[in-house]
Structure formats: structure tokens, C-alpha cells
């Protein structure tokens, strides 16, 4: 059975062109950018070239505004903890939307131990941040607010430009986690009015092991990792030049191909949504139109997500779920609860994220697998009455 991989939000293959470009940095061109000899200088050059490409990718003011990290999680930690702790004189409140990535939420929760107040901004049933609540929950003591560009579990795209105006009206820093959005839709930090932006290499078809944080010129933060003072002192630790060089190359390629690829994926995605919603008691989660082009997410009544995942894997189709049973904590996804789903509704969730490997020809296979999976599991379920035998 041919594999149909529909979980690009979890992990993406490295673009072969990127691998070709970056491979020498693992072998011949290895080197520590901090070394002063010629091999070290070569490595340093690779990092600076990547920084240039990343600067262009998000339309940053200059190359100095890009800090490479080891992951998006690390960039989120640095953005939030680094900004809040450095600017403690401005106040001791931080805010984030209820659907942020766990690395954002946990960074903010951790700040509570330093005496910070953490306010959570609710979202509506489609996952859009409530601008009124945003306005009312930020006080003059708020230092930094974190709102994601788009959500990885429900695909909803936030009105970042509008949010930026509200946040900046109060003189607060806006951090935006664009891990899910970057590479899928254009991100322009200057036009969108963003102070801090997180994104990762792998989500651009680059190697794992690199992330980046954009820091608007003038925004001050302190490091989270201490050591040899790499990356302007904000991220100590020897640079992963293979991943960083790859990330730069990946960003350049994806930027050139984005419009075409997202139109292609949108077509597949829309067809998939139409087909899957034919199944009874099946609902789309997230926003119907303000949604990432590669993203489709659903919930099926009366069945559980881990079972869906396992069953789909038998067709060699890989999907994701936010069900309680599938999580380490046995809690349902905080995103699904934040959009108002009940515990048992969140149970039957399925997330599909498309990528370059997917084609229109796969649609009938996917639809068949989903339909059969849902039917089979519903037959097993004591909650499902209709259509039972």
C-alpha cells in the first residue's frame, strides 16, 4: 500500500534541493563559526548567508534582527521569557491567546513564578481571537502579548494586522508564533506590525534542528541560554550550521513557490473537506475560510481520535488527532476546548495537513479510508445509535 502522509504539521521531509545544498556542512564544510581559521570563516559565511535569505523571507528590516535557535519552542521561550524579564520595569503582566502552542503557554506560566500575572485571551468558536477581549485584558502593566499567526490544530488564521494595532495602541510588544503559517502564507513582519516572530526550519521543508526568532530593531530582551555569546549574545551555543544553512535555502525556495503550491493544495484540501463532510455527524473544526491552505480538521461524533489514527494507519495514511487518549496527559487538546468543544466532542478529532507529496489522485483513497474508519469505529461505539445493526 502506498503511503499517504497527511501529517505535515508534525514533520516534513527535507526538500532534496535543500539537502543537496546543506549536506557539505555536515562533512567537508563543517566548521565552527567562532573559529578564526578559514574553515571557521566558511561556516560563519554559511550562517550569514542563511540570515540574509531569512531576512528577505519575512521582510525584516535588516539581518541583525534574525536570531537562530535550535527550534521554534526555543524561539518562543526566548521571545517571551527574554522580553518579559528584560523589560520588567515596564510591568509584570503577560498575555496570550488560549490556543497558543504549549511552549508559549508554558513560558508564560513559568513567568508566574517570577511574580508575573498571566492573562489568557479567549477565542470564538472558529478560533479567532476576540479583539474586544484582547483590548480589555491588556493593562498598562502588560509587557508582551503572544498571538499566533495561524493555529496548527484548527488551521485558523488570526487577523494579525488588526491585533497589532490594538496591542501597539497600548505600547505593548507583540510576539507572533508563525510556526504553522510561515511557508504556507506570506508573512511580512513590517507590514503586519510584528515585534517578535517565531518560525522553524522543518516547516519550510528544511532540516530539523533550527528555528529563528525575528526581533524588531529596538526591542530589548535578555538571553535564556547562557554561554559563549553566539547570536549577539542572545542564543549561546555552537550554531547548527547544517540546519541553519538548510533553513535559509528552504526559505528561499518556498518563498518562490508559495503561491503556486498553496493554490494546488487548496484545491485538494477543499475537495477533501467536501467529501469528508458527507459523512453524517461530521463537522469542520476551525474557520471555514480564514484557514491555512493545506489544512483540514474535523470532528466525528461518537468515536475517539487515537482509534481513528490507528485505523487510518492500517491504510498507510497518517493523520493527527487532539483526543485525550492520544495525549501524554490524557487531557483533550487545549485548542479544541478553547473553541468551546465539550470533552467528548474533542475526542473524535482528526487533523489533516497536506504537503508537496500529496496529489488530487489521493482524494478517493483518503475519503474511502476515512469513511470506512468512521463506520467501523461507530459500530463499536455504545454512543452511536443510528445505523447500528
Amino acid at each position: 500500500m502506498k503511503r499517504i502522509y497527511l501529517d505535515h504539521a508534525s514533520s516534513m521531509p527535507v526538500d532534496p534541493r535543500v539537502l543537496e545544498f546543506a549536506k557539505p556542512y555536515l562533512t567537508k564544510k563543517m566548521g565552527n563559526p567562532s573559529s578564526l581559521h578559514s574553515v571557521g570563516l566558511g561556516a560563519k559565511q554559511a550562517v550569514e548567508d542563511a540570515r540574509k535569505k531569512i531576512t528577505k523571507f519575512i521582510n525584516a528590516e535588516n539581518e541583525k534582527s534574525i536570531i537562530f535557535t535550535g527550534s521554534a519552542t526555543e524561539a518562543n521561550n526566548l521571545a517571551i521569557r527574554g522580553t518579559a524579564l528584560r523589560n520588567i520595569a515596564r510591568g509584570k503582566t503577560v498575555t496570550a491567546s488560549a490556543i497558543e502552542h504549549i511552549s508559549v503557554l508554558n513560558s508564560m506560566k513559568n513567568l508566574q513564578k517570577n511574580g508575573f500575572i498571566f492573562n489568557v485571551i479567549p477565542v470564538d468558536s472558529t478560533g479567532i481571537v476576540d479583539p474586544g477581549k484582547l483590548d480589555s485584558l491588556m493593562t498598562k502593566n502588560t509587557v508582551v502579548t503572544s498571538i499566533m499567526y495561524a493555529n496548527n490544530e484548527i488551521g485558523t488564521i488570526e487577523p494579525i494586522k488588526k491585533i497589532s494595532e490594538i496591542v501597539h495602541d497600548k505600547g505593548i510588544y507583540l510576539h507572533v508564533d508563525a510556526t504553522a503559517a510561515a511557508g504556507r502564507i506570506p508573512v511580512d513582519v513590517q507590514n503586519d506590525g510584528i515585534d517578535l516572530l517565531t518560525f522553524s526550519s522543518n516547516d519550510l521543508y528544511g532540516p530539523q534542528g533550527a528555528g529563528a526568532l525575528y526581533i524588531k530593531p529596538g526591542v530589548k530582551l535578555q538571553p535564556v541560554l547562557l554561554g559563549g555569546g553566539q547570536e549577539r549574545g542572545l542564543r549561546s551555543g555552537t550554531e547548527n550550521i547544517f540546519a541553519i544553512a538548510g533553513m535559509g535555502e528552504a526559505a528561499g525556495i518556498i518563498q518562490n513557490e508559495m503561491t503556486q503550491e498553496s493554490n494546488r493544495l487548496k484545491k485538494i484540501r477543499n475537495k477533501l473537506i467536501d467529501e469528508i463532510l458527507q459523512i453524517d455527524e461530521t463537522y469542520l473544526t476551525g474557520h471555514p475560510t480564514k484557514r491555512l491552505p493545506h489544512h483540514a480538521s474535523f470532528r466525528f461524533s461518537h468515536i475517539e481520535g487515537e482509534s481513528i489514527l490507528l485505523n487510518m494507519d492500517m491504510y498507510n495514511i497518517q493523520i493527527a488527532t487532539g483526543s485525550a487518549c492520544s495525549s501524554k496527559t490524557l487531557e483533550p487538546s487545549h485548542v479544541l476546548l478553547a473553541i468551546g468543544l465539550k470533552h467528548e466532542e474533542a475526542h473524535g478529532s482528526m487533523v489533516i495537513t497536506l504537503g508537496r507529496s500529496n496529489t488530487l489522485e489521493e482524494i478517493p483513497l483518503i475519503t474511502k479510508a476515512v469513511t470506512e474508519t468512521v463506520q467501523r469505529l461507530r459500530k463499536l461505539s455504545p454512543l452511536y445509535q443510528k445505523g447500528g445493526d
Binding site: 475517539e304 487515537e306 490507528l310 485505523n311 487518549c325 492520544s326 459500530k379 463499536l380 455504545p382 447500528g388
Partner: protein, 133 residues
């Protein structure tokens, strides 16, 4: 194979669960909810001379919950109710070649539903005897 850490046997029972369904007018019925993740399981039994002659289940839950329900029905079909009462979650997990630690709680569900069904049977039997007397 899917990476939850399930044994081959768990996956086999998940994909081909035994004794799925409902028994009309069962001699015993047990239904339990999993307080940890919110899942539901029900077991129906037919009993003759204290031997479980037929058993069926339905489960709303994860792969492990479905496999353990299936296994518990397979283990206890043909068994004396007093023997079946002694089946523990560990027995079920062992028969499935083990469960990942975070999934052990799902096997409670299967054992509990079975025990509830047997208790229900015994209660019904007792009230019948009382009626006769």
C-alpha cells in the same frame, strides 16, 4: 506500525475485535465510564448454570480500550462467573503481551465492565430466587 507502543496482539484485537455488539435481554449488563479520559464501555452477558455462554461489548475509546474489551470477552466466554470475577486488568494486559504504562488505565475499564455485568447477573438471580420463595 503505529507508534503508541502497542504489541502486535493489541493491534490484532483492535483491528479484528471479537464479540462486538449487543445481546438483547442479557442476563447481565455492565457499563462503565473512564474517569481519566472520558471513554465508555459496555458489556452484555448470557449465562447458563453460572457459565458465561455468550458475551458482547461496545467501546468508545482508544485502541487499547477496544483491544482490552475484545480480550476480556474472549477470555471469559465459557468461563464460570466466579472465575470471571477474578479476572484483573493485569490478566487482560498480560494476555495482550502487555500495554504501554500510560494505557494501563484503559484495561481497568474492561475488567470493571465485566465485573459489573456479573454483579448485575447475580443481583437479578437473587431477586428471582426471592420471587420464587
Amino acid at each position: 506500525m503505529a507508534g503508541v507502543g502497542y504489541s502486535k496482539k493489541v493491534m490484532e484485537h483492535f483491528m479484528n475485535p471479537r464479540n462486538v455488539g449487543v445481546i438483547e435481554n442479557p442476563d447481565g449488563y455492565g457499563k462503565v465510564g473512564n474517569p481519566i479520559c472520558g471513554d465508555v464501555m459496555e458489556i452484555f452477558i448470557k449465562v447458563k448454570d453460572d457459565i458465561i455462554t455468550d458475551i458482547k461489548f461496545r467501546t468508545f475509546g482508544c485502541g487499547s480500550a477496544i483491544a482490552t474489551s475484545s480480550m476480556v470477552t474472549e477470555l471469559t466466554k465459557g468461563m464460570h462467573v466466579d472465575e470471571a470475577m477474578k479476572i484483573t486488568r493485569n490478566d487482560v494486559a498480560d494476555e495482550l503481551d502487555g500495554l504501554p504504562p500510560q494505557k494501563m488505565h484503559c484495561s481497568n475499564l474492561a475488567a470493571d465492565a465485566l465485573h459489573d455485568a456479573i454483579k448485575d447477573y447475580k443481583n437479578k438471580k437473587r431477586s428471582k430466587i426471592l420471587e420464587v420463595e
